[in-house]
């Protein structure tokens, strides 16, 4: 074997080992590195009330209800299989609309309602001009973010 070939084999072996290690580490982090719980994973995780967590999903259509005080808002976050009731007091972001994505920081209360301390809107991967907005994006072909897997 020529030295050049030896180096090639070594480099390829190193590359395979590196990528393998990277993939192993990434898959081990699968749960821990997620930025938020979805309603489904939250239901499975049995998080105790009062622990600071993050919840993400889609705002269920027709679920947004604002209290008379004007700042308290109740809504339901859903993914494909589960739903979670949320309460938030504060100004909601511009992109916070029914059917769009949302990520909330907060805690579960004893009654099973998620009390959000801050709300972030989550934009999906669809880029559509305003003139076409009446197309229901939750039924769009490419909509991957619409409901978390």
């Amino acid at each position: 074997m020529k030295p050049k070939h030896q180096r090639l084999v070594l480099a390829l072996l190193a590359l395979v080992a590196l990528i393998g290690a990277g993939l192993l580490a990434a898959s081990a982090l699968r749960e821990e590195a997620s930025y938020f719980y979805t309603p489904t994973t939250l239901a499975k995780a049995k998080v105790e009330p009062g622990k600071a967590i993050r919840l993400g999903g889609m705002v269920q259509r027709g679920s947004i209800k604002r209290d008379a005080d004007g700042v308290t808002v109740h809504f339901v976050v859903q993914d494909r299989d589960a739903t979670q009731a949320v309460m938030y007091k504060g100004i909601t972001p511009d992109l916070f609309v029914e059917g769009s994505g949302v990520v909330a920081d907060g805690r579960m209360d004893k009654g099973g309602v998620f009390v959000a301390e801050s709300l972030l809107a989550k934009h999906d991967e669809n880029y559509v001009p305003r003139e076409l907005k009446d197309i229901d994006m939750s039924t769009a072909e490419h909509s991957k973010d619409t409901l978390a897997e």
Partner: protein, 238 residues
């Protein structure tokens, strides 16, 4: 491959190629940005902020593409000992770092109105920040190399190890729930309306040409430095 191993032959090609990449790249990038800023419609939810797409996405692609180039050049350097491999890896590092930074900055500016936060520590943003720090580390290592113009083997090994981050950036939005949206453009198609897609492709091509021109310029500068170094040494010996 060794046909281009001769730096003199490389310089003969690189010199006329540089302006051929640079000026069409400048025209295309500027034209696409003008097109993107003034001619595209507002997006259904983001409104006018969608227009940062035409800088953000090409910057992200080039930031990641740059490190892929460094990794390939590093393998070529370690295996074939190609004299230009180290020079090219070193030349890619600075523009790569600049595009990675541009991606982070434009993303942050977009995140504030779109999400309501300048920064979040989700998988995509964190792995992209790691890429930027890897570039800084690589530049420091390459500058510390004793071999003039080229880079040390340590830097080349670092270039290969750092490549692990590239598939992680790409997959971060698939593996982990993230604040950042999933990929809009995949092999299966595009979720971006044609009104945004064409200026995006134009600006991506334009920035890529500029990237190529900058890499060639930096390679030529480094080869010139090697020649100066060699000439000085000869003069000192006489």
């Amino acid at each position: 491959m060794h046909r281009f191993a001769n730096p003199a032959r490389f310089l003969g090609i690189a010199k006329p190629l540089t302006p051929l990449l640079l000026w069409p790249g400048m025209l295309l990038a500027l034209g696409a940005c003008w097109w993107g800023l003034t001619q595209v419609p507002a997006e259904r939810l983001q409104g006018e902020t969608v227009k940062i797409l035409f800088v953000h996405v090409p910057a992200a692609w080039l930031g990641m593409g740059g490190w892929t180039g460094i990794a390939i050049a590093s393998i070529v350097q370690l295996v074939w000992r190609h004299p230009l491999a180290g020079v090219s890896a070193r030349a890619i590092a600075v523009p790569g770092a600049i595009f990675a930074a541009l991606c982070l900055i434009t993303g942050s500016i977009w995140g504030r109105p779109a999400w309501g936060a300048w920064w979040v520590w989700d998988g995509r943003l964190t792995s992209m920040l790691v890429l930027f720090f890897l570039y800084l580390g690589y530049i420091a290592l390459a500058n510390a190399s004793s071999e003039k113009g080229s880079v040390s083997r340590t830097a080349a090994v670092f270039g290969i190890i750092g490549a692990v981050n590239i598939p992680i950036i790409n997959r971060s939005v698939v593996w982990w729930e993230s604040q950042h949206q999933k990929a809009s453009i995949t092999l299966g198609g595009s979720a971006i309306d044609a009104a945004y897609l064409w200026p995006l492709f134009a600006s991506a091509l334009g920035f890529t040409l500029i990237f190529g021109a900058v890499v060639l310029m930096r390679m030529r500068a480094q080869l010139a430095e090697i020649r100066i170094e060699a000439r000085m040494r000869r003069m000192a010996e006489d």
